[in-house]
Amino acid sequence: MHLKGVFWTLGILICLFGISMMVPAAISWYYKSGHSLQFMLAGGMTAGFGGLLQFFGDRPKRLSHKDGFLIVVLAWVTLSILGAIPFWTTGTCTNLVDGLFESTSGLTTTGATILTDLEHTSPAILFWRSMQEWLGGMGIIVLAVAVMPLLGVGGMQLFRAEAPGPVKDKLTARVTETAKALWYIYLLMTIVAALSFWVAGMTLFDAINHAMTTVAIGGFSTHDASMGYYDSLWIRGMCVLFMFLAGINFTLHFAALRKGFHLKTYFFDDEFRTYLKWLSSLIVLVGLFTLATQKGTWDEVIFNAVAVATTTGFAVSDYAQWPPATSLLLFVAMFVGACAGSTGGGMKVVRVLLLFRQGMREIHRLIHPHAVIYVKINHQSVSPTVMQALWGFFVLYMVCFMTVAILLASTGVDILTSLSASAACITNTGPGFGDVGPASTYTSLPDLGKFILLFAMILGRLEIFTFFVLLVPEFWKR
């Protein structure tokens, strides 16, 4: 382990994050909401802290994979804490935990909020929430690798530790180029989304905010009613489209764009086809139950199903009031999540697909005991090591989900709320059911409960392993 190198790298990340706080400061100045100073101060403090770390650290010659894990976990924890400073100093959150919760929920693109009365919250704060989601969506470390060629040395270690999915590919020969490519696509998608929202009738400020939180699959809104505030099919349709697009593996976007927007590239991909089938069957099933009981309309069904299945967490109506079967379906959808390599959360479609295929394989093996059968994806067999890692992931994911839910219940929260809050946070969806349903916020939870959920969110965003590896004693041995 090369601690000085870790600090130096961390310093850069924190500086970058501090500088980004100048954007809400400028917004505040523009809207004259009087929070410029707080943001400038917070930014200055953050950047200063980063500078200090860099001063005491040393530029690393190379980073080991262990350093990579350490940097990523430390970065997510410290950035979540530092990102909370504006919430405290502006007095938006009076409580220490509340500020942390809002900041972490933003960075991890969970979108669970404790803020109420968003209509009367200062634009700078709203923008800061959206921007945190946007930075966390593609991964702030991937961003750092993209803009800081200095990080190229250990870039792949960092990239691997942060990017979601079971197998991580480089798109280009150099990791910096890969990170850049991902961010370009991300940026492009955000700009197009913002323009579409704007044209569809949002104010420019709302359009930019929603574009950032949609493409990041975050789910923060500038209105209490979330997307339900906009009674326009156009806006909702655009939002569904961009949630869907952002839930696709960005590697696929990259491959398709390089071939001149080649649609076939998508359909060659097993994960994409499964994602498409899964979303459509979910919509049909949820739709059947909902329409049969006349609790919602088709456009509400489509919007809410896509929002939950991609783990965005927007809502146009209170789907917690729909029949119990739909709630359970959406509950499962949270776990399946979006595609690997997207900005979405959950376990990822490809993992579920592979586990399912593994199950089918075992059935086949019973019928043909001497057959050689591989689990395949895109016509290539998946190595047993990856499959084992997948099982390990699945078990740990479930253990974490249950542990968080039990801890939450032990603080006095009811079963439905603790189960769904745990699921919604670990899958980075946001709204759950019960007290934390789409129509309410996380305010009512006890402080200890919120604190536990902070961990669930980071655990989910870093896909368990990256976080847990630090808790193993071997990790710290020389």
Partner: protein, 458 residues
């Protein structure tokens, strides 16, 4: 014509003997003295010992005067390199190479006059796989050969004991088959092949070859009572043994059809490789002759059995085991000539020989010109020829019944533009028609003369 053949393996040997018998000057190069000795002992050719791609060896074999080079060593790279050397140093006009590796074959732009100068690539495995697939698609028939770009087929079939054809003589055939136009071009009884006479009576157990338009094949099979019901069934169950190159290519082709295939491979690492490459085929790791294993995979319910290992004996035994389990259609891959001749005694219905198919492809290419197709039927004593009737030809404008053809020669089909005509006595051949002739024994030269066709090579 001066011909160079590189490699005296099965394919090289067979081609050399065919070409030498037709009166060409053939030189054979090999780096295995024993193989060369075998060639020298059995035919009148020149043999040269050495590395087939070395310029000095090629020169010694007379490459400077050669018009045709057939590179048929077991090594793709040597074959390609030899073609390049022959092209650059000796200006050999036509170069044919045996290329196994699909990667080379599929590489577009690799071959050409300014690139790798190879005029025709032959892959024995691919040829064998193709003919297996063709026979698989018409499994009720014993044999199936395509002519005129697939418009006409020669179907070889057994006369089933209780079928409609048993006990019928050829004059009555049309009454039995109704309006279905077919022409019986070859007939076998007691191992003896011949051109049928009009008074021949078909007996159960005889074999015949029938010329029929491809569009009529299904109707014919239905009429004859070759259980098409089973063949039509969707999700046909196929069992294959041997996952070598041929087995892999066949399995790959089967995956595109609506069949359920299971493939036995005894080499564990090859089985892994197959499982990686094939997506819908069940790969079974194990001995193909293990009764328990075969039963486990349900050999009783299998519709087709394909024995495609590299070992003839395993293929024959496997096919016989399948026969014991009453598998309806069995195709056996046979490499050695002797087994091919024995196939009927052994009880094999359909055999495919990579060597024979490769040889006929090469010969067809060499004979390009007025003759478009050439192959042999039965045990090889009957030759099939597809030729174009020129304006100067003597056979034009006379009804067939008045035409004097060489002995033991019949016209099985006439292809006029895209139309297939199954001839009768009143059919008249027009200029530019393609004619499918079947001829016995050594009449081929006479037949060619009839068409005023010289063996045009280039």
């Amino acid at each position: 014509m001066n011909i160079l053949i590189l490699g005296a393996g099965e394919v090289g040997f067979h081609i050399a003997s065919r070409l030498a018998a037709e009166g060409n000057n053939v030189s054979v190069i090999d780096n295995d003295a024993e193989h060369l000795q075998r060639v020298a002992d059995s035919m009148d050719v020149k043999t040269v010992f050495g590395h087939a791609a070395h310029p000095s060896v090629l020169e010694q074999a007379g490459a400077a005067d050669a018009e045709l080079l057939i590179a048929a060593t077991t090594n793709d790279e040597i074959n390609m390199l030899a073609c390049q050397v022959a092209h650059s140093l000796f200006k050999v006009t036509t170069k044919i190479a045996r290329i196994r590796e699909p990667d080379y074959i599929n590489a577009i732009g690799l071959f050409g006059r300014d690139d790798l100068p190879i005029d025709l690539m032959i892959s024995p495995e691919k040829e064998a796989a193709n003919s297996i697939i063709k026979r698989f698609q018409i499994t009720s028939a014993v044999d199936a050969q395509e002519f005129a770009d697939g418009k006409v087929q020669l179907l070889g079939m057994h006369i089933p004991p209780k079928g409609e054809l048993a006990g019928v003589d050829f004059k009555e055939l049309h009454e039995v088959l109704g309006d279905l136009p077919i022409y019986v071009v070859a007939h076998e009884r007691n191992q003896h092949w011949g051109i049928p006479k009009s008074n021949t009576v078909l007996l159960a157990g005889d074999r015949i070859y029938v010329a029929v338009a491809t569009s009529d094949v299904e109707r014919l099979l239905e009429k004859v009572g070759c259980d098409t019901s089973q063949q039509r069934k969707h999700g046909r169950k196929v069992m294959m043994i041997g996952g070598g190159n041929v087995g892999y290519l066949v399995a790959e082709a089967l995956e595109k059809m609506d069949v359920d295939t299971c493939l036995f491979e005894c080499n564990p690492s090859r089985a892994d490789w197959l499982a990686e490459k094939l997506h819908h085929t069940h790969i079974i790791k194990g001995d193909a002759l293990d009764r328990k294993l075969l039963e486990e995979e349900g050999i009783e319910n299998v519709d087709d059995f394909l024995a495609l290992t590299n070992d003839d004996e395993t293929n024959i035994l496997g096919s016989m085991i399948a026969k014991k389990y009453k598998v309806a259609h069995i195709i056996t891959l046979i490499n050695r000539g002797i087994y091919n001749e024995l196939s009927h005694e052994i009880g094999l219905d359909v055999t495919v020989s990579p060597r024979l198919t490769t040889t006929s492809t090469i010969l067809r290419h060499i004979r390009k010109g007025r003759i478009f197709g050439l192959s042999s039927l039965g045990d090889g004593s009957l030759e099939v020829l597809e030729a174009e009737a020129l304006k100067t030809s003597a056979i034009l404008n006379t009804p067939l019944k008045d035409l004097t053809l060489p002995d033991n020669t019949i016209i099985g089909a006439v292809i006029r533009q895209d139309q297939v005509i199954i001839p009768n006595g009143y059919t008249v051949i027009e200029a530019h028609d393609h004619v499918l002739l079947v001829s016995q024994g050594n009449n081929l030269k006479e037949v060619e003369k009839l068409f005023e066709v010289r063996l045009e090579f280039f």
